[in-house]
Structures are given as structure tokens and as C-alpha cells.
């Protein structure tokens, strides 16, 4: 476990450079740091480094504020990042070199939900969720967790002295883009993050131009849990951005709500959209109760992928749905 000792040495250095005033020191220190790193830290006593980490051309050290409002000081761009959620796996591995990610969730290896299967490397520890033992074993510079991570485990990891960044918002398309932006900020890859976000908006502009001025069909989302999505959900945003009107929102539904077949009949959607896949679509189309619903009558029930991406890949869902809603425009 030699890397454990290295890490404790590193944290001893970084403890010295905390003063904000010293951050804007000459970038020459960075060059010195690279030199020192190249020759190995053990050659020089730690006391030589108080200023070494205090300046960084990339804007480190920096203070980031997580979803809970907690300030986290990052002395340098994290080199060992622990991800405790698929949403972070996807964005992290889209932004940073795989070498900087020490742990990913097992879902990152599942091509159904993962966008980064090809970025997985042997050195990465596969976790189910947050795990304190594996955090200690991988010695991360920062641990990315969600508000749905086990809070007791989060507290234990913080008590052990690790930096934990909690993300709290995953509901809307804007939340997905904000997660990309924040992970860029944490990792020092903000330019790359902004590029991904800009690419999202560039592609969305193309969609918006094509659907401009066209009539917006009334769309209802439905899934295998009989849940529809109202205001404040990514699916709502996707429907609206793809040129539809989200019926659930029109009827005042907020967030995710269970609705029954009766409500669907009463709402009379022109299009039903789901993420469940072709079997679920066939089930709706063949449901005797729903035969008088316009969407079913006209065969306009679609399954769209990427609606749960929680990142810039939402654009794929918007593009796909736009083609279903406005086939004549594409």
C-alpha cells in the first residue's frame, strides 16, 4: 500500500498552501512543481513547498461550493476522483483522462445506461454505491456523491478527512448541464465542460430552427410505473424542447405523479412518449382500454432513449423526439 504513504505526504504539503493571498503567485511555481514531481517528492523535505502549490495557471487552488452550500478547498486539480453515481461516471469520463478516476459504479459498465463503457480501465475500483472502505483503499482527492447517497456513509467519509462534494439537483435538463459544468469546475476541465454544453445548445438550435412555427402536438409521458412527468422534470423539458406541449404540465402536474388509464383517456394526448422500449409501446398500442385515445388510434406512441441521461446527452433524446413529433421537418 505504498500509495497510501505518498498520499499522506502530499496532504502534508498541501496543508501549507492554504492562504488565499498566495494563490496568484508566479506561474513559475507550477514549473517548479512539475520538476519536483518528476524527481520525486522524497528528494526534498516538505518544508520547502509552502508556496509550491499556492499558484497554478489553471486557477487552483480554488474553492468550490457543492449542492448543500458547503465550501470545498481544492489545492490542485484532483488526480484521484471517486465517483459514487452513474451520473458522475458518465460526465467524469467524458471530461477527464480515465487515469484520474479511481472508482466508478458498476452501472458504468452497462452499455444500456453508460456512455463511457470504452473509458473504463483496469485500475478503477467498481462500486455499487458509496463505500467507506473502498474510499479509504483508493485514497481519493475528492468523492462525488448525490443527495440520495447514504448520508451516514457520507458523514463517516468526511470524518475520515476526505473531501466530499454532494450534488443535489438531477431533475431537469438544465440540472444535467449544470452537473456537467460543476464537474468541469471540480476537475479543472471547465473548458471541456463548457464545450460539451455549447455543443448541446448548438445542436438544440438546429432542432429549434426546424420545428419553428409548427403546431405543437399534445404529448403525455408514461412509464411502466404508470408515472407521468410534469413541470420540473427532464422529460417535460425534452417534450417542450422537441416541439411538443407537455399535457401533464398543462394539467398542473408537478414532478413525477402516478396517473391511471382514466386520466389518460380524459387528457386525450396526441402523442404518448416513454423511455421503456418497444415492448411497452406495443402494450400501450394493444391496450383495449386506451383504444380511443388519439395517440393510440393514430399509432403515435414512441419510446425515446437518453431521457434519463442527466447530462449533455439529453440532446439525443430531444433530437429523437423532435423527429417523431415533426416528421415532416426532418
Amino acid at each position: 500500500m505504498s500509495h497510501l504513504e505518498n498520499h499522506s505526504l502530499a496532504s502534508r504539503w498541501t496543508g501549507f498552501g492554504a492562504g488565499r493571498a498566495k494563490w496568484r503567485m508566479a506561474p513559475a511555481w507550477l514549473a517548479l512543481l512539475v520538476l519536483i514531481a518528476a524527481f520525486g517528492g522524497s528528494l526534498l523535505p516538505p518544508a520547502v513547498f509552502p508556496h509550491a502549490l499556492a499558484a497554478d495557471a489553471g486557477g487552483f487552488p480554488r474553492v468550490v461550493v457543492d449542492g448543500l452550500g458547503k465550501e470545498i478547498l481544492l489545492e490542485a486539480p484532483p488526480q484521484r476522483i471517486f465517483s459514487a453515481g452513474l451520473v458522475f461516471d458518465n460526465i467524469l469520463l467524458s471530461l477527464v483522462p480515465p487515469e484520474r478516476v479511481v472508482a466508478v459504479t458498476r452501472f458504468a459498465a452497462d452499455p444500456k445506461d453508460s456512455y463511457v463503457v470504452d473509458k473504463l480501465r483496469d485500475h478503477m475500483v467498481i462500486v455499487d454505491a458509496l463505500n467507506a472502505e473502498l474510499v479509504v483503499a483508493t485514497q481519493p482527492d475528492i468523492v462525488l456523491v448525490a443527495s440520495w447517497s447514504n448520508q451516514d456513509e457520507v458523514r463517516q467519509i468526511e470524518a475520515l478527512g476526505y473531501k466530499v462534494y454532494t450534488f443535489t439537483s438531477f431533475s431537469t435538463v438544465e440540472d444535467g448541464l449544470e452537473t456537467v459544468r460543476r464537474i468541469g469546475e471540480i476537475t479543472g476541465f471547465e473548458a471541456e465542460a463548457e464545450a460539451l454544453i455549447a455543443e448541446f445548445w448548438r445542436r438544440y438550435e438546429k432542432v429549434a430552427q426546424r420545428i419553428q412555427g409548427r403546431e405543437r402536438p399534445a404529448v403525455l409521458s408514461w412509464d411502466g410505473w404508470s408515472t407521468t412527468t410534469g413541470l420540473g422534470t427532464a422529460m417535460h423539458d425534452i417534450i417542450e424542447m422537441a416541439g411538443g406541449t407537455n399535457l401533464a404540465a398543462v394539467h398542473g402536474i408537478q414532478g413525477w405523479q402516478v396517473i391511471d388509464a382514466e386520466t389518460i383517456i380524459a387528457m386525450a394526448p396526441e402523442v404518448i412518449v416513454t423511455y421503456e422500449g418497444p415492448e411497452f409501446v406495443a402494450r400501450i398500442l394493444n391496450d383495449p382500454v386506451l383504444q380511443n385515445v388519439p395517440a393510440v388510434k393514430n399509432g403515435r406512441v414512441y419510446s425515446v432513449d437518453h431521457t434519463e441521461a442527466a447530462n449533455h446527452y439529453y440532446i439525443l433524446a430531444i433530437e429523437e423526439l423532435a423527429k417523431y413529433l415533426h416528421p415532416e421537418a426532418f
Binding site: 448543500l68 467507506a132 472502505e133 483503499a137 447514504n150 448520508q151 451516514d152 458523514r155
Partner: protein, 369 residues
């Protein structure tokens, strides 16, 4: 109607049929219980060692032992900080909390089955578990868990005590507590609290819902030394109280009227048992959430071996319960690694078949009465 004793203090067989060992009063071998206690202590030591030595991160067994010895004796030696953190700060507190909670639940279960003269009574039967759960869920619902980690246990403990007091108040008339009413009141209150918890599901966002589910399914992940020191005083006081009441419980197993005529202050004993059980169980579930079946099956296993004498049954149940929960938790966190099961799932998977077996045995007994 004469009090029928499910625990068999007055058990007798009809037509020469053999009485199941669980309901046979006399211990055929007088040294059985002390010997068993010794074995259970050894089992507990082995369980703690195993629990600390095995985990998702594989560490050499002797290093593990050395870290535990060095840290507990505060030896001035250099330890690998990573290994020491995993063993001493992550794994050992978790194992010891599991042991403490298992001890509390099983010892309380033994006492409750004795008090209610009902083999299906568990420590939660008077509403303690459901009340504790509701307290915790309310704390999570109010998002107090993000303010400090101690609000959830505090609310859970308060909820548990409140529920038990309420059930007790409902069942007490003119200074006498009817155990059948108490049991029914407990069950009714539990259902009510469960319904309120389910109701809250509809009004919370995903993140909060997950925290609630972690709690309801019995959660030993992320336990720290603070959790142990928080629950230990109440658990130790409560179970010690139960052990002191063992003789009275033995006499009351023969029926409350008989006990009264023998000079046992029945109502005072009942109240004392309920207070002890509420303290121990409430404190236990306040640090881990609901963990089912430990309090139900462990005392029954021991009844089969050493009979119904509460003087031995309560401490041995505690010891076996501690080992049982530590081993169940070990299974939960290692077998499907990296997936970590909730400990409550493992105890239920082992508990349910045994519970059904008990039901079969009970039906058989009813049949020949």
C-alpha cells in the same frame, strides 16, 4: 379460562405424545445453560473477529488483529494509516454496533415473549419499531438529517418511547395493564405509523425517499464509534434490567393470577419490563433502523436448547443475537460484493423460514390441546 402457557411452564403432554423441546420446562442437563453461555461468548468473539477481518477491501488477517490490539491498547506503534482507518474507523464500529443491536433485540425479544406468553411476540410488538421508524422518517422528512447526523437517532428514540407509552396508556385501566390489549394496541399503532410513513412517501423527492428507505430496511453502513456510544448506555441498562427481572418473568409465565398470589408485583414488573425493552430496543433501532426477525427467532432457537428459564434465556439470547446480526451483516456486505445488501434483508431471509417453521410447530401444538 386458565392461562395457557405457550412457553410451557405448565406444559403437559396428552396421550403420551412427546412435548416439543421448546415447550418443555425442565432442563434435562443442569450444566447445559452455563456451558452454552460459554460457547456463545466464544462465538461472539469469533464473530467480531471475522466481521472485522473480512470486507470488500482484503487485508491480511494478522494485520487486522494487530491493528485492533494496537489501537484498543493505544500502543505507540506505527500502523499503515489506510489499513488502520479501514479496520478501526470503518469496520470495527460497524461490527460492534451490529453486535450491540443484535444483543438488544434478541434479549428484548426473549423478555417480550415471556411477558406476553406469546411465541410470536418480538421487541417491536408494542409499537416500538414502528414508532421509532416514524420518528426517524419525520426527522428525514424535515431534512434534519442534513443539519446533523444525530437528529435521526434522537427522533427515532423519542418516537419509540412515545409509541410504547401510548400503547401502554391505551392498555392500562385502573392501574392494571391487560397484556392482550397492550399487544393489540401495539399492533394497531404500528399499522398506523406504517401508514403515516407510506403517506409521507408521496410528498418527498427522490433523495429523501432513498434516505428513508435506507433507514427502514435496517442500515449498518456508515456506523461510527459515536453511534456505539450513543446506544450502548441505554441498551446495557435496559438489558441489565431485563436480566434482573428474569425470576419474576419465570413466575409470571405460569399466569398472572398465580404470580400475584405468589406475591409478585405483577403490574410493577410489567411496567419495568416494558420500560427496559423500550429503552434497549428504541436505542438499538435509533442507530440502525428496523432490523427484523432477530428478536423473534434467536430466543426461540435458544428455547429449543435450554428451555424457557429467563435467567439463562435473556443473556444467552443477547449473546446469540449479537453474533447472529454480526454474521448476517458480514453476509450482507460481502457475498454479492460490490453490491451491498441491507442487513435487514439477510436477517429476514434467514428469519422467515424459521418463522414459518415455528408457525407449523405452533399449529401442531394447538391441534393436540
Amino acid at each position: 379460562m386458565r392461562e395457557s402457557s405457550a412457553l410451557g411452564v405448565e406444559a403437559r403432554g396428552d396421550a403420551g405424545r412427546e412435548i416439543p423441546a421448546a415447550f418443555r420446562p425442565a432442563r434435562p442437563f443442569p450444566l447445559r445453560a452455563p456451558l452454552l453461555t460459554l460457547w456463545l461468548v466464544l462465538l461472539l468473539v469469533a464473530s467480531v473477529t471475522l466481521g472485522a477481518a473480512i470486507g470488500v477491501v482484503q487485508l491480511p488477517f494478522w494485520d487486522t488483529l494487530w491493528i485492533i490490539v494496537a489501537r484498543s491498547l493505544r500502543l505507540p506503534v506505527e500502523l499503515d494509516p489506510g489499513q488502520a482507518a479501514i479496520i478501526w474507523s470503518v469496520r470495527l464500529p460497524r461490527v460492534l454496533v451490529a453486535g450491540l443491536v443484535g444483543f438488544a433485540l434478541a434479549a428484548s425479544g426473549a423478555a417480550m415473549q415471556g411477558l406476553f406468553r406469546n411465541p410470536l411476540a418480538d421487541p417491536g410488538i408494542i409499537g416500538v419499531s414502528a414508532g421509532g421508524s416514524m420518528g426517524a422518517v419525520v426527522a428525514i422528512f424535515l431534512q434534519l438529517h442534513t443539519v446533523s447526523g444525530w437528529w435521526t437517532p434522537a427522533f427515532a428514540f423519542a418516537g419509540a418511547l412515545l409509541a410504547a407509552s401510548l400503547a401502554y396508556a391505551l392498555a392500562t385501566r385502573g392501574g392494571r395493564t391487560d397484556t392482550a390489549t397492550l399487544l393489540l394496541a401495539g399492533v394497531a399503532l404500528s399499522s398506523l405509523f406504517s401508514a403515516v410513513i407510506s403517506l409521507l412517501y408521496h410528498f418527498v423527492e427522490d433523495g429523501i425517499l432513498r434516505q428513508i428507505v435506507y433507514w427502514l430496511m435496517g442500515n449498518l453502513a456508515g456506523r461510527r464509534w459515536e453511534h456505539l456510544s450513543l446506544a450502548a448506555p441505554f441498551v446495557l441498562a435496559g438489558t441489565a434490567g431485563l436480566m434482573l427481572l428474569a425470576t419474576e418473568l419465570n413466575i409470571m409465565a405460569g399466569g398472572e393470577d398465580d404470580a400475584r398470589s405468589l406475591g409478585v408485583p405483577v403490574e410493577r414488573v410489567k411496567r419495568a419490563v416494558l420500560v427496559c425493552v423500550s429503552l434497549a430496543t428504541g436505542a438499538a433501532i435509533s442507530v440502525t433502523g428496523m432490523i427484523g426477525f432477530v428478536g423473534l427467532i434467536v430466543p426461540h432457537m435458544l428455547r429449543l436448547v435450554i428451555g424457557p428459564d429467563h435467567r439463562w434465556l435473556i443473556p444467552t439470547s443477547g449473546l446469540l443475537g449479537a453474533s447472529f446480526l454480526i454474521l448476517c451483516d458480514l453476509i450482507a456486505r460481502t457475498v454479492f460484493s460490490p453490491i451491498e445488501l441491507r442487513t435487514g434483508i439477510v436477517t429476514a431471509i434467514f428469519g422467515v423460514p424459521f418463522f414459518l417453521y415455528l408457525l407449523m410447530r405452533r399449529r401442531e401444538m394447538v391441534a393436540w390441546r
